[in-house]
Symmetry: C3
């Protein structure tokens, strides 16, 4: 027993003593399993070059929009946290601002992860973590000292965290040299896999779309031009990614719409967009068609297709202009999958080996649409609760919403989707505890046998991501 | 105590010991009550002719799209399960395929019902049921042997299951002879009631609509023609159903939209549709108007009106073409009731004796729309959680969502909505256990008295369906 | 221990004994705190004039559409409850009708509040409250006798209830004399604050809009006319409210849409609407623009802006015609905030001192939109669960939906939003118990420390409403 909530062996487990006992035993099955992270945003460079992490603020605060947004909501400027490369204040001052805001994080997923990192990765005493606002300098210094130790280099942490697979997210024109470097190094046991993320080449509304397409075609179309060259280049770069170990292609689309256009119509829209004459409607139609094309390519080359729709990116214009993208104001909205993915699923829904992992920020589609889709189509998998939803209560709501329709075999396994490298163990630990809690309740309610629950939790944590992401 | 989850006396009850004790006592009030099933899909022929059930696969697997869809999602063809009348494999082989997929069903509603049927109806040992995948042939043979016994004829099971009322779902032009036969047989105590389901005559988008309308008018319009004849024929067939014991008319509509058109406008749309010239908009408008007309007829003839909207039927074209309808790929989407039913409720919302039972596959409308509607309009009743939602967690979410606004008096009572005859006891047992669980929590939280909870559970299980469906 | 659920010390607390123990201690922190009610509908006259309440029916039944709607749903006419000033029956007869319907209220929020009032305010024995239907006359007489006592005058109850601040809701042209009277009376310790509610002057679809605007401009525009005068008058009346203690302006809009029009365009639409020529589209656009203008004024004058969208008011036309507005048939529908409030937040989202409290009747926006918005914008606060959602389960769903994203610092504090004066203590007591229950679960699951939970509950109950509403 301990006073530290981050170190408490029963943290996140259900309060009912009988259910907790079952959950503890389920958790014991999976606590030691390696971490599989088939979708995330850690830069491959970090692992390839094994450069020491910079200061605590640069590692844990400034780039983490989960963290900075709540401090911002309390009335502080993002510049006080050195967001977006700003340097109005020094790192220690920014850390003090963060520490002052620490009580705001109680009850949040970010707060829980940070607390876990502080205690488990950086060894801060729980008394410091409980009241970080009173220990700003001490905690800054303690973390900074740790970061200077050789044991705190990315590769050692990778090993200490028990990571087996870590997928990054990469631009289609990325050389993937860091990935190649890591793969060649036989002394490093981890797999670091690139992920093909072509949003900036598919989203006609992207300000640099035409320019991106030109570069893509010039570099990768084998000399072909126009729409033909565009498709050829995408196919070629996917092959480049596969050669570097990629297992999936990821799509951050505004809506889940898909459409199948005839060749001539698609080509005409492409040319219209290239001339800068596409209407808003044209753009939506073309992008929806390109989702269809991406599915076709996935059927052909085997890359798992993941779809992340439903966020209004960069909601606050002035903040975007000053601090750039991914600064905490991407706001979800309601979506519908059922009609939107129908065109794609007509042709590819039962295609051999095709894996389509559908994510949502709109919880209403879990029971209404995703569980029924994944409960019929062999290609469709339930993306794990993502972003604002990768937290204990939300993950339990997800399981409750989908299991009765789709069982346990149709979900993707946990996705940490993070650029906060040091939070990875805490995030996977959270997921394991939540799965144990959900299964324990079903056992306590005599809805599944305890023996099966022990098999299922291993499947969810280990076999599911391997199976779904073809690891 | 027992190792079998299907036979465990506390199955589905809350884990907290104090709450479980209250739930057990509430359950004891209703465990022995007869089954009232005012909406479902069991064919009346089965009961009328009392023919033995065919083999285990034909009874329990092939026609049950709840079951086949999950096996399909795991990568097996529906042909391997003899779906849609296919006979690529024999029944035993199909059963082996199903048995192999058995672990997929853990945690699902279907898995729970099947497990209950296997143990409680067919007497399979729990060790076999726990690992059906290892006992495919043995379980097939055991069930087949049971089905050959005289005690496993439909009528005897009907009695053994404790069914008092079973409603079927029927085409408006159905003769209803099986119902008449059963009603005439004084030796059979059960009531088997037809339900008027005119979708194929109201949905202009139905491929056979024009043909259906011709047949309807020819057979039942007393010689009247056109729109007048159409309405007359519908009224006449409703009367025919009422004469055969029908208590309700059921409407499987795409959306819940209702509209009141003037006579001339309705007639013009009808004629346009009959000529095959209706636009998509015309069709929606005409159907919405026909919902208004159906309500009018219900006000006049007393048939309870039930509405089941919000499913995109036959989502996967190729599967529909090969295996037909109801093969596991009807996928729900988001709906809104508030504005949609306003035209109908303006005129009939407070009509004497009118009962309108609204169902949804979109859980968001429970607290937002259905509870407020049913909490004001004397005609509106909350349809029980249906289809993907008739499972323990979903039913608890339903009660939590509606009770604080609408109390316990405005719900329809449990609806099994099934064609899986042998699952009926398990489904009603599930509902009774969930109601007991929900009420027990309210008692434990001192929100209702234990005495009232005992009255309420009897009302929910027994009095509510009688009252709402005029049984 | 007691048999009365209304008096039970553990009412509404979680059933699990360990969690309940934690909850009890959390509750003890806040049970004695004063009531802060920054948004509601009690008439200021009552307090100003301190007139005795009329009979039980007029106080507790006829004006409370939470109560009358369920009786109506059971098949009784609203006239039987003397709704909307009707007097077809006398008060005692109406009370009997209500008492007969009493069992319908089990499990509802209204039933819980009424039970609490009956026992705690009016001292009815729990045996009477348990079966009010058997004690209609006795309960009527007992309450009537209490109402005749001097201790049951509004001011004494105000004190006895422990109310410190009570906000009313008022027409922009209201003189606010009652508020002035109360403020001047140094013997009365409570603060009764007006709230600026300009719906009838902003909603072009309101039947009296043009007339209202004329009156407003004539009385308050300092001689200015047209759109200029209209804005000036609104600004002037806001100042009048502020001078009388107002802290907020409230907006009961149909949808949350906001738009920023250019001056010329806004003026042209205003004039078009004044001429009665505005289309439905024009009306929506103009109203959305006026929300933008209201935000601008709030930024300038400091009034907290509260927004209550998403209800289809007066859903049943015939009832509205006979009994008037607020008679139980305002029905919620689905909304989306993310895109709707973007125009307003572009310009004012980070404005110094601006407070925008967003309410919803559509629970889906809690986790999807409101928590992310409030978790970034310093101006945005999560409105407490409102109307159909201010009940124990719904409030727990709210906390579960928003906390993991937005923590505890971004919510408004409890809002009773009621005209049922005697229900105020029960409503705030409910909220305190629910907050204690939610926090206790997080403590039991080792997600927050018990020490922090004790700080947080005081913040939620006391500091949050003071901070958010600038009390």
């Amino acid at each position: 027993m301990t006073d530290s909530i981050a170190a408490h062996p029963d943290r996140l487990l259900p309060a009912d003593p009988g259910t907790r006992r079952i959950a503890r035993e389920l958790l014991a099955e999976v606590e030691g399993l390696p971490i599989l992270s088939p979708h995330g945003h850690v830069p491959a460079d970090w692992i390839a070059e094994d450069t020491p992490f910079p200061d605590p603020t640069a590692l844990l605060v400034s780039p983490d929009h989960y963290v900075t947004r709540l401090v911002h909501a309390s009335g502080r400027s993002l510049a006080e946290l050195r967001v977006g490369g700003t340097d109005d204040v020094d790192s220690r001052t920014a850390w003090r601002t963060f520490a002052e805001a620490w009580p705001l994080f109680d009850g949040t997923a970010s707060g829980y992860w940070l607390r876990s990192e502080f205690e488990h990765v950086f060894g801060l005493p729980s008394a410091v973590v409980d009241r970080l606002q009173d220990h700003a300098d001490a905690s800054y210094d303690a973390i900074a000292a740790k970061l200077a130790e050789p044991g705190f280099r990315p590769r050692q942490l990778f090993r200490d965290f028990g990571i087996e697979v870590l997928a990054t997210t990469d631009d289609p024109l990325d050389s993937l040299e860091p990935h190649a470097l890591i793969a060649k190094d036989e002394s490093f046991p981890g797999r670091v896999l690139p992920t093909f993320r072509p949003d900036a080449y598919l989203n006609v509304a992207h300000p640099a779309w035409a320019q991106n397409v030109d570069r893509l075609t010039a570099e990768a179309a084998d000399g072909a031009a126009g729409y033909t060259g565009y498709l050829r280049a995408l196919e070629n770069r996917r092959r480049h990614f596969i050669e570097h170990g990629a297992v999936s292609a990821d799509h951050g689309v505004r809506t889940p719409l898909t459409l199948k256009l005839g060749r001539a119509e698609a080509e005409a829209l492409f040319e219209k967009a290239r001339r800068g004459e596409a209407t808003a409607k044209d753009r939506d139609v073309f992008e929806a068609h390109m989702m269809y094309e991406m599915a076709r390519m996935s059927v052909e080359d085997g890359l798992v297709m993941t779809v992340h729709p439903g966020s209004s990116r960069n909601h606050h214009g002035p903040t975007f202009e000053r601090f750039g993208a991914d600064t905490g104001h991407d706001i979800p909205f309601g979506i519908g999958y059922t009609e939107a993915v129908k065109p794609l699923l007509q042709d590819f829904g039962t295609a051999e080996g095709f894996h389509l992992v559908l994510f949502t920020l709109d919880e209403t589609v879990f029971s209404r649409e995703l569980a029924p889709l994944a409960g019929f189509y062999p290609s469709v998998y339930l993306g794990a609760p993502w972003w604002f939803l990768d937290a204990p209560d939300a993950m339990l709501r997800f399981r409750s919403a989908v299991t009765e329709t789709a069982g346990f075999s149709r979900s993707s396994g946990f996705i940490d989707d993070t650029r906060a490298f040091c939070s990875i163990p805490a995030r996977h630990d959270t997921a394991r505890r939540v799965e144990a809690s959900f299964l324990a309740r079903l056992v306590a309610e005599h809805r599944i046998t305890e023996a099966r629950a022990h098999e299922i939790i291993v499947d969810l944590i280990d076999a599911a991501p391997r199976r779904v992401f073809k690891l």
